[in-house]
């Protein structure tokens, strides 16, 4: 449909928000073989980054917010496509807001200004003739997006939540579980900072609408295995993020405010089963955590060797945090009458195959092979520092509590 546009090396698609610029730009890119560039790549309205991109060739750029720039300052060598869509249709579209006035102003601006050297006006209705319309149309895409709270018949059937604290063995257990092929892809999907990175990678951010729903749908798509099992590693601090995002995703349900945190998690991650991974010795766990952090820091060339003494004050704070978060998990389980399957770090290290077999049996996957890809041996336990740390711990300052946590 748009093959003839291939002669133009730089095509920009403009129009009011929600007029179909995204769909049209993707169609043009498909037909011309040019590279599609979403407005999120230049922050939607960052002129400098937009002009940098315009130095490139064979591109189709979706840039609804750049109309003023394109009309006011003639940008050379650009072919402009303006999406024409009925403003009432935009106002009553599926987006849940009424940007009628913005659309009206945008079209007024277009009609009252000198047009670019090369342009054409593309009626939105004509896009329906394109073979990709059903796949790309905004409304269709929204319909096709998996429900963030998967109902019966959807891909995700059950969930495994590896509830843990840092350096307690949760990551190791997740890797082992993933290798059985029964647990999907257990990752830190609800780490606030990782979630933002994923949000950009999945093209959900910056978002104008529905980030919680689309993010949870993305997690379900990425984390669910072929058997319908969705797994995730969840630290206590991630749990709070998950509950809030889950509650926002449930906002159109009448009871979204009265559901308990456990019910919200259950709505996002269906039929959740909790594995609680902890370490018998929080002091040793805190040392592992700190040394691991130093190792990562040093591996970036930012510090000295691996043998330096860990910062015992930091270790003290980490130990305190581990105790608090373990306590929080236990309180959560008690409050919501959850009986998690418990895995100890020490057992996992000593008998990984047996631990994974036991977990598999708990979930009812008797035919899995837990030993098919053994985990590499862990770094030696920092026992040489443990005694020294314990000797000094009493003189170190607490952090989180005005009244120190008894250690």
């Amino acid at each position: 449909m748009f093959e003839d546009l291939v002669v133009h090396s730089r095509i920009v698609v403009i129009g009011p928000q929600f007029s179909g610029t995204d769909v049209a730009a993707r169609m043009i890119a498909h037909d011309t073989g040019h590279r599609y560039i979403d407005e999120s790549l230049f922050g939607a309205n960052d002129r400098r980054r937009f002009m940098d991109i315009m130095n490139d060739e064979r591109i189709v750029v979706q840039c609804p917010e750049m109309m003023k720039l394109l009309l006011d300052e003639a940008v050379p060598g650009v072919f402009v496509v303006l999406l024409k869509r009925d403003t009432q249709e935009i106002a009553t579209g599926p987006v849940g807001v009424t940007p009628y006035e913005s659309a009206r102003i945008t079209y007024e601006y277009w009609s009252s200004h000198t047009k670019p050297a090369q342009y054409f006006e593309l009626p939105y209705v004509s896009l329906a003739r394109h073979p990709l319309f059903a796949e790309l149309d905004d409304h269709s895409v929204r319909q096709a997006t998996p429900d963030p709270m998967p109902a019966e018949g959807t891909k995700t059937k059950t969930s495994c939540i590896v509830a843990t604290t840092p350096a307690a063995g949760g990551l190791r257990l997740c890797r082992l579980l993933e290798r059985t092929g029964e647990f999907g892809s257990p990752k830190e999907y609800f780490n606030p900072q990782e979630a933002t990175r994923r949000g950009f990678a999945w093209r959900l951010l910056p978002s104008r609408r529905g980030f919680p729903e689309s993010y949870l749908a993305g997690v379900a798509a990425e984390g669910t295995g072929s058997n319908g099992m969705l797994s995730a590693r969840v630290l206590w601090s991630h749990q709070r993020w998950l509950v809030r995002i889950g509650r926002a995703a449930l906002a159109d349900r009448h009871d979204h405010l009265t559901r308990t945190d456990a019910e919200v998690i259950g709505a996002c991650l269906p039929s959740p089963t909790y594995l609680f991974v902890s370490s018998r010795d929080p002091a040793l766990q805190a040392l592992r955590w700190q040394i691991g952090q130093n190792r990562r820091f040093n591996s970036r060339g930012a510090g000295a060797g691996d043998q330096e003494a860990p910062d015992f004050q930091e270790v003290r704070w980490k130990e305190e945090l581990i105790l608090v978060h373990n306590h929080n998990w236990e309180a959560f389980f008690t409050l919501h009458d959850i009986d998690p399957y418990r895995v100890e770090y020490e057992s996992l290290l000593r008998l990984p195959t047996e631990v994974v077999e036991a977990v598999i049996r708990w979930f009812g996957f008797p035919d899995s092979d837990p030993a098919s890809a053994p985990e590499p041996p862990p770094a030696p336990e920092p026992t040489e520092w443990l005694e020294l740390y314990r000797a000094r711990r009493g003189g170190l300052r607490p952090l989180l509590h005005p009244n120190p946590v008894p250690i």
Binding site: I105, S112, L205, I245, D311, F312
Partner: protein, 393 residues
């Protein structure tokens, strides 16, 4: 860079451009706030780190103390920020809005460089005493082993950024050790259409708004609309989330209602604004040189309205004694007396000449770096010799 705000859109939105400027400069940036604005934060693409409690929850745990600035509300957030620093990342700089007190204490414990981002006029120590915040701060400082601070100096360290143009701050100079006047960059969402046009037909356009917090005052909305009835102006009325036109069914030929319109889209097309004088509403209009009539309803609006009036960029009307006729007369004055638009444009120019954000970013990172070389965290002083290595960031 850890940005910290209380969970209000009006407090969060103004920091977005600076947070993004830091991110563009290659810094790791996150926003610590409570759940109420989690959606707004994540929508910007900035990581949201849960911290503090929502105002409605604060009332449940505060007992007799001030639910906003008492020990419980501030203490919860201090602890959350400290947890973030231990578990997720250790900020070098904490940037907070003036009403968010917890980061001042947490930052002092962590030894960060602390910046106050003035999303309101300067709030002196005396105001915090009236609100009872001094007692909470004293108790928290005692419990965390910090030295006494009877003058509340911790609330004004290390750098104060004012967004207000000259003539709008109540103090000159500001009573702080270090301050900078920075450019206010209006931001009200990434979904805005930036293309705007003058109103066709030559009629003046007036924006009528009560913002997003005080927009439930339907009585004032009605008075605003009655005042504009029959006037030869094009009125765009933004209602705010969940609000219906105050007089449903009544046709107002010159009024166009919108649930929400980014002010950055509509203000460039306006010749006047009729509003409550909220900080961002006022600053948005001043950024575009639009004179305004302010009828303040609460919070800092009275102060804002008075300053707009004193600086000649608009007219301040008292809510309780303002009739539609008086409002109409005031709107006519700001539209027809060119001195109002002239003064508004002068202030617009002053805002534009304030420090641009990339310079602010450079300034803060330089100061923070200098600070780190001469000072250490109070918690890291007098530690055993093994205790000062491997600080993560």
């Amino acid at each position: 860079m850890l940005f910290s705000v209380r969970p209000y859109r009006g407090h969060f939105n103004p920091i977005v451009p600076l947070a993004r400027a830091f991110r563009r400069a290659g810094h790791h940036v996150a926003v610590a706030t409570a759940e109420d604005i989690a959606g707004a934060v994540t929508a910007t693409g900035l990581p949201w780190l849960p911290a503090g409690i929502n105002p409605r929850d604060a009332t449940l745990v505060s007992g007799d103390e001030n639910p906003d600035y008492g020990y419980a509300a501030v203490g919860f957030k201090v602890r959350d920020i400290l947890e973030i620093a231990v578990e997720q990342f250790r900020p070098d700089v904490v940037i907070r809005e003036p009403t968010d007190l917890a980061p001042a204490i947490a930052g002092e414990i962590l030894g960060t460089f602390n910046v106050i981002f003035g999303v309101a006029y300067f709030i002196p120590a005396e105001s915090w005493r009236i609100l009872g915040a001094d007692k909470a701060i004293a108790a928290l400082r005692r419990d965390y082993g910090l030295s006494k601070d009877p003058d509340l100096e911790c609330l004004y360290r290390d750098l104060y950024l004012t967004l207000l143009p000259g003539g709008f701050e109540p103090f000159n100079p500001l009573p702080v050790a270090s301050s900078r006047r920075i450019r206010y960059v209006p931001w009200d969402g990434d979904g805005s259409a930036s293309s705007v046009s003058p109103q066709p037909g030559g009629r003046a356009r007036v924006l009528v708004t009560l913002g997003t917090v005080y927009n439930h005052d339907t009585d004032l909305f009605e008075r605003f609309l009655d005042a504009m009835e029959g006037e030869d102006v094009d009125v765009v009325c933004t209602l705010g989330e969940g609000m219906l036109p105050p007089d449903q069914g009544q046709t107002r030929a010159n009024v166009h209602f919108e649930q929400y319109l980014p002010h950055t889209s509509i203000l460039p097309t306006c010749q006047g604004m009729l509003c409550h004088g909220g900080f961002n509403t006022m600053m948005g209009a001043l950024c575009f040189g639009v004179p305004m009539v302010c009828v303040p309803l609460g919070s800092d609006q009275l102060f804002n309205a008075r300053k707009v009036d004193e600086n000649g960029a608009g007219i301040w009307l008292r809510e309780e004694e303002t009739s539609p006729e008086q409002i109409r007369e005031a709107v006519r004055r700001i539209l027809h007396d060119p001195s109002f638009a002239g003064r508004a444009r002068q202030i617009q120019d002053r805002i534009a000449r304030a420090l641009p954000l990339p310079v602010v970013v450079h300034d803060i990172q330089t100061r923070a770096r200098q600070r780190r070389t001469v000072e250490q965290s109070p918690l890291n002083q007098d530690l055993p010799s093994a205790g000062n290595s491997g600080r993560s960031s």
